[in-house]
């Protein structure tokens, strides 16, 4: 059989993902994460007298901590299974990616296991984050001036 004809059979019986539903769930869950972050920032600046701008750092640390804790307790993968990008795109997803890799490779030693593999998933986020920050920073400088 020709490859193209066979691929036609495969495509015919491969079910399509419900993108509308997945997108909606991710939108709502991601939005709720934003609301949670905003509430935390308000609380920190109101009760702890931290300036609003600096409260964002405390908020991020809190969310990262909660994400890592839930990963270690084994709940976060189930949540990701449901909410998909609603939890992967926010900072919790980054923390989760590092934490899960760290948990996985801890048994292969601190240096060759945990250290070498912790950024297995999140390494590319950092690399391309830095590169795109540089490119967009340069663009901004060129278009809008210093």
């Amino acid at each position: 059989m020709e490859k193209r004809k066979y691929q036609g059979i495969v495509n015919k019986y491969t079910p399509k993902e419900n993108r509308m539903y997945n997108g909606l769930v991710a939108f709502v869950v991601g939005g709720l994460m934003g609301v949670l972050g905003e509430i935390l920032m308000e609380l920190y600046s109101y009760y702890l007298n931290i300036p609003y701008k600096e409260a964002s750092v405390f908020m991020i640390v809190t969310l990262i901590f909660i994400g890592c804790l839930l990963t270690c307790l084994g709940f976060f993968d189930r949540a990701v299974h449901f909410a998909k990008c609603g939890l992967i795109v926010p900072i919790t997803g980054f923390a989760h990616a590092m934490q899960s890799a760290a948990l996985e490779f801890r048994k292969e030693g601190m240096i060759m296991g945990l250290g070498a593999n912790m950024f297995k998933l999140s390494g590319s986020v950092i690399i391309f984050g830095v590169v795109s920050a540089y490119v967009f920073g340069l663009l901004r400088l060129l278009i809008m001036g210093a």
């Binding site: 059989m1 490859k3 691929q7 019986y13 491969t14 993902e17 990701v80 990008c85």
Partner: protein, 328 residues
Amino acid sequence: MTNEYNNVYLNCVSTVSGPYEANGPFSKLYDKSYSDFYFGEKTFEIAESKLIDESVDILLNKIGKTRFQIDLHISGDLMNQLVSSNYAASRLGIPYLGIYSACASSVEGLIIGANMVEHKVVNNCICSVSSHNTAAEKQFRYPVEYGGPKPRYTTFTTTGGCSAYLTREKKGVRIDSSTIGTVTDMGIKDVYNMGGVMACACGDTIYKHLMNTKREVGYYDLILSGDLGIYGKKMLVEYMKTEYNIDLKNYDDAASMIFDIDKQPVYAGGSGPACLPLVAYSYVFDKMKKGELSRVLLVATGALMNTSMVNQKLSIPSIAHAISLEVI
């Protein structure tokens, strides 16, 4: 290539299953089941080699022999360098052959064993396979706790260890013939669509087996494919119809049977080298003993996937081997 055997019997089998299989429809038919993924060991890889170890131990107990009375142990699994089989073999101390053809390893082992027993190279032989869900996830996909989203047509690696005992002694089930498949590549690149990758290899092997043995599809009471999943199963039926004009009768797929697909979070069904033998050595053997099935064709399918080659944008080759079993 098809071989026929006159004097090889599958005397006895043993199965050890993991937690998801233990909640599936054949839970009561397994010799032993575990409720977690570690089985009291420190890592997933050691846990997987324990599956082979235990299934061989259970088998030796059943046949009443010690490991020194076994001439050959053939074993396969999914891990890099066959670590699970190798470590189990190092504890067992039986002369050992390690084999790999991904999820088709179970039948590959039986074919090698049957040929050696038939031609009196060895008097008896144990063929084992294992697979472990979280060990395979770690090696082929993401860290276990990451739980990255997957499409619903992907399959869920089964956790289990299975062993079979082959001799020329007339007991159990007769091995009638076997067909060694060829590697097929139809250009499918989606690592989650294993059913699509393997359906063509499965179809080709079934066709070659029927041609070489001059049999009709209806000759078999059951044709059981390895791990195509609920969507791959439909692809195979359509492929057989359009390519070879064969209507698959009495056909089922072990991947679609091993789990309760509606209730368990297993996507399109099971996969892994242990998927087919877990069903064949429990449910199918049970039916053959009761006389409800007399001729069964097991077709194990394997996607010969490698993460480096997939990242290099190459398509995934696949293979299928078939073995025909008959009630004495």
